[in-house]
């Protein structure tokens, strides 16, 4: 019984290139108001294009609006309903954030505007740094990193630079087998060799394993807390102590901070560096893949190594003036041009000011409550992957359903027919057949109940009609795609051929 969704007529649409017709235009530019010098007098013709941009479309504004409106309706969205991707924190993206980020004074501001003419921007950056420092309990914040992975890389570089300053850069990054793929990848960019440490039976860091692994070569332990299994690292203090005692540092992947904000602070646990995913915990939109922002917060000791520029306060005859400080001799350098994903930062500050300390705590508590509610209601239907107290997300697996030939992927796809976006699947790797469910605080009980009902119903279907589940989804405009073919013979761009132009028109 599918309660949450129906099927409804939905527009087909080819590629924008297939809409192209000679002579169509979608713009109107102002007339040239200076002399119409022939271009090839201004510049040597051999430096000019020789292809007349024939590959770009010629379409009207109406074509463009129809095209993108139509294809948009093929997406699921947070504004449609629960989007329970574990580790992704698909919470509601407040509309006020969107409005504020578009204010002309922000949106039209050039990054090289002289500091005294950009005090609003600098003030905003400083306010956000202060707020994130308070939230993490780590005193110094860099807002530069463009996403979580860049935050990781930046944080590791800061650690490395500090260790170098101490006289010993070291070689190794210890990373639990449950970590997100960006952790080892970022360590690699940073020049560290990755050593994987096996998690304990309940997915936590195995203290004995850790002790054995830690030595004078270890620069950093990268951990995620709550772990990617959604559970708090109970021994976090001891873990930090072990690493610190051996002269290493602890990096915390803050992707799961939605479980902790306002309740406990990484700085108080002994962590040296954390990155935050503003596009998770702080409600900035995921945008179908970005942009996000991955600020890092670090200890006092690490501050000098943060990327430049830094916003600093100066005193101009008693008037507080902010400026960007580029003169940071110990800094790791620059990790991107200009000042970070500013438009994302605006949204995050807007969120923090909207919620305030009580709201932030309420969000955390509700996120954890919602996940536990799902765990509680589904534990008799699906196996829960790990023992222990889940926080903001819970991991089920397909063990019980496998005997009917139904796997995690099938369950995920069938959820689509039920009107939901699937949960995160097959991550973390240490949880075979993982179905990682993170409802966030943005779901009300009735949506949680619909999800629980859907999951139960699918479990019944798995038993009684496994084919139905294995061939899902059935209610979408296209079915499961042949991903192997996509990788075997990659078609990564459109080319004008007769074949192409009739495709995807539903023919």
């Amino acid at each position: 019984m599918i309660k949450k969704a129906s099927v409804h007529v939905n527009q087909n649409e080819g590629l924008i290139f297939e809409r192209s017709r000679p002579g169509r235009v979608g713009y109107k530019l102002p007339a040239l108001d200076v002399e119409a010098a022939p271009v090839d007098l201004l510049i040597d013709p051999k430096l000019l294009r020789d292809d007349d941009l024939a590959g770009l479309p010629e379409v009207s504004e109406v074509d463009v609006v129809r095209h993108f409106t139509r294809i948009s309706t093929w997406n699921y969205a947070v504004d449609y309903g629960m989007y329970p991707l574990g580790s992704c924190t698909m919470k509601y993206n407040p509309k006020l954030n969107e409005r504020v980020a578009r204010l002309e004074g922000f949106a039209s501001s050039h990054p090289y505007t002289p500091d005294h003419l950009a005090q609003g921007n600098l003030e905003l950056l400083m306010e956000l740094e202060d707020a994130l420092a308070e939230i993490t309990g780590l005193p110094a914040v860099s807002l530069q990193p463009a996403a979580g992975a860049q935050g990781e890389m930046t944080g590791l570089m800061v650690i490395r630079k500090c260790l170098e300053a101490r006289g010993d850069a070291r070689k190794l990054a210890l990373i639990p087998d449950s970590a997100h793929g960006t952790n080892p990848a970022s360590a690699a960019v940073c020049g560290y060799k990755v050593k994987t440490i096996k998690s304990s039976a309940n997915g936590a860091i195995d203290i004995e394993n850790l002790r054995r692994a830690v030595n004078g070569d270890v620069a950093v332990l990268m951990l995620t807390n709550p772990s990617t299994l959604g559970m708090f690292e109970e021994n976090i203090e001891e873990v930090c102590r072990i690493v610190h005692d051996a002269g290493g540092m602890v990096y915390m992947d803050g992707a799961n901070m939605n479980a902790l904000v306002g309740v406990t602070r990484p700085g108080d646990m002994g962590v040296d560096v954390i990155h935050l995913n503003l596009h998770k915990t702080f409600s900035t939109p995921h945008g179908g893949g970005g942009p996000g922002a991955g600020p890092i917060a670090v200890t006092k000791e690490l501050e000098p190594f943060l990327p430049f520029p830094r916003v600093v306060e100066t005193d101009d005859n008693g008037r507080r003036v902010l400026r960007l400080d580029y003169d940071r001799p110990q800094s790791i350098g620059r990790v991107r041009a200009f000042c970070g994903n500013f438009s994302v930062l605006v949204r995050a500050l807007c969120y923090i000011l909207t919620l305030g300390p009580e709201g932030l705590r309420e969000a955390t508590e509700t996120a954890v409550l919602n996940a536990n509610y799902i765990a509680h209601r589904l534990k008799d239907t699906y196996d829960i992957a790990f023992d222990g107290q889940p926080m903001h997300e819970v991991i089920l697996n397909d063990k019980r359903q496998q005997k009917f030939g139904v796997h995690t992927l099938d369950i995920a796809k069938r959820l689509i027919d039920y009107g939901f976006h699937p949960m995160t699947i097959y991550f973390p790797l240490v949880a075979p057949g993982a179905m990682m469910i993170e409802p966030t605080e943005s779901e009300g009980r009735e949506e949680l109940d619909l999800f629980i009902d859907a999951m139960k119903s699918i479990a019944t279907e798995a038993e009684q009609n496994p084919e139905l589940v294995k061939s899902a989804p059935h209610n979408t405009r296209i079915g499961r795609l042949d991903e192997a073919a996509a990788a075997r013979k990659p078609v990564l761009r459109w080319k004008h051929t007769a074949a192409a132009s009739s495709a995807n028109n539903g023919e």
């Binding site: 510049i43 003419l117 970005g290 009580e358 508590e365 296209i478």
Partner: protein, 448 residues
């Protein structure tokens, strides 16, 4: 809290059903001594109006054409003030686009996937390359990724970077490769033209993984791609071209047509607001041969069991979530929505619009340059052909000139002394289609 549906009452009822006494129970995994036990020291929640006013006030403290001191600006240098068609914001504001995740579930993500496929195609068309990824953070990190990729592909220890590459891009490359064991060679530029010295290129050894250049270069000059390409390929290095001003591709040779191996850069000029430097959208294109070494996500076309065409993320074995430390990059979240903005921009402008706007830029910039060079002791610092940026040598230190202009509500450009201490009288100026003749003329007046 209006963003949290479940009221206190409902939360109580849920706890009851779960047999839990209080929500604190659920946090039992956290040792008590780590609990904060106080509210965060942050301002109390603001009302919607107060929040809006707070940001309005901040925004009004920035000088733009319509806010703060209401100034006309001639800043460019990697961030450009271009006309942005209204429909872009309308369309990306559809929540189907901005409130969705990375399209890992293609059956309910075809909107995002198809748009990325279109983006990839357009980037290929513009750059003259065969394969484009789905975006990177920005132009500077795209450049760093190009260097890392060249290193992977060639296994050579050095990289040659143009001395007239955007200095911030260079700084980012420095940071990214610092721990990768790659040595950097800086290619000098000609004092007269501002363009790269071709003879310096000819003296490079075959231990160079890539020759990385920017065109138009940081001074606005258009480089001779074909000549540099030949020099690079002669030593078996990859030829990587960085483009910070995407609109220049409306007129200038596609780097791919000069046999570039990698073309990367910044798509901000394609309908993305300047927003104090971000979010922007890095692009990255290469050849089919090097496809499997490309960093970041790729979308490919395929079909379902009934033969209906569809799009999906593909070649994921390059990526961190599969390959972990052996991935071609650590990037995960990229700039999806901003790639969509660029896609919409390029659709709206299309074949004729892109050329028209590029011509407007070039003609207005040349008009401005000519007029400025005719003023007293001002002259153009370099004589290479240029697109919409040029360097002006002033009779006085640039700060003096710029602060005089500021008094007349003009932000005159970027003082080059910031990056090139020897250029203390030099200002990098940019003129786009949004600059009117009247504004150029008033700049000229103000310079006098």
């Amino acid at each position: 809290m209006r963003y949290i549906p479940n009221s206190a009452e409902e939360r109580e009822a849920m706890l009851l059903e779960m047999g839990r006494k209080s929500v604190a129970d659920l946090f039992c995994g956290i040792p008590d001594r780590l609990k904060l036990n106080r509210l965060l020291d942050l301002p109390l929640a603001l009302s919607e109006t107060e929040t809006l006013n707070f940001f309005r006030d901040l925004a009004e403290r920035n000088a733009t054409r319509h806010t703060g001191e209401r100034m006309v600006s001639f800043l460019g240098a990697g961030a450009y003030d271009h006309f942005i068609p209204t429909v872009i914001d309308t369309l990306i504001s559809r929540s189907e686009f901005y409130t969705s995740y990375t399209p890992y579930q293609p059956e309910i993500s075809q909107g995002t996937l198809q748009a990325i496929f279109e983006f990839q195609t357009m980037i290929c068309e513009l750059t003259g390359m065969e394969v484009s990824n789905a975006s990177l953070y920005d132009g500077s990190t795209a450049t760093a990724e190009a260097v890392l990729m060249a290193d992977r592909v060639t296994n050579r220890p050095k990289v040659a970077l143009a001395g007239n590459l955007h200095p911030e891009y260079r700084q980012v490359v420095d940071t990214y490769i610092r721990n990768a064991g790659i040595d950097e060679i800086t290619l000098p530029f000609d004092e007269k033209t501002g363009a790269l010295k071709l003879d310096a290129l000819n003296s490079l050894d075959s231990d160079v993984a890539a020759v990385v250049i920017q065109s138009p270069n940081f001074f606005g000059g258009v480089e001779d791609l074909r000549a540099i390409s030949e020099a690079a390929h002669r030593i078996g290095a990859l030829f990587a071209v960085v483009v910070t001003e995407g609109l220049s591709l409306g007129l200038l040779q596609a780097p791919g047509h000069a046999e570039a191996d990698i073309v990367c850069g910044e798509a901000q000029s394609f309908g993305i607001p300047m927003s104090f430097g971000g979010s922007y959208c890095g692009f990255f294109a290469t050849t089919e041969k090097l496809m499997r070494q490309i960093p970041g996500r790729l979308v490919g076309r395929t079909s379902d069991a009934e033969g209906r065409a569809g799009y999906t993320l593909t070649l994921a074995t390059r990526e961190q979530h599969i390959r972990r430390e052996k991935a071609t990059s650590n990037i995960c979240t990229n700039q999806g929505l901003y790639a969509l903005m660029a896609t919409i921009y390029l659709s709206i402008m299309g074949r004729s619009g892109l050329r028209e706007v590029a011509e407007l830029n070039m003609r207005k910039a040349h008009y401005a340059a000519k007029r400025i060079a005719a003023v007293g002791d001002y002259r153009l610092r370099f004589d290479a052909p240029f697109f919409n940026e040029f360097v002006v040598s002033c009779p006085k230190p640039s700060e003096v000139i710029l602060s005089r202009l500021a008094d007349k509500k003009i932000i005159g450009g970027l003082p080059l002394s910031r990056f090139f201490p020897e250029m203390k009288n030099e200002i990098l100026m940019c003129v786009t289609e949004t600059t009117t003749k009247a504004e150029i003329d008033s700049l000229v007046e103000a310079l006098k």
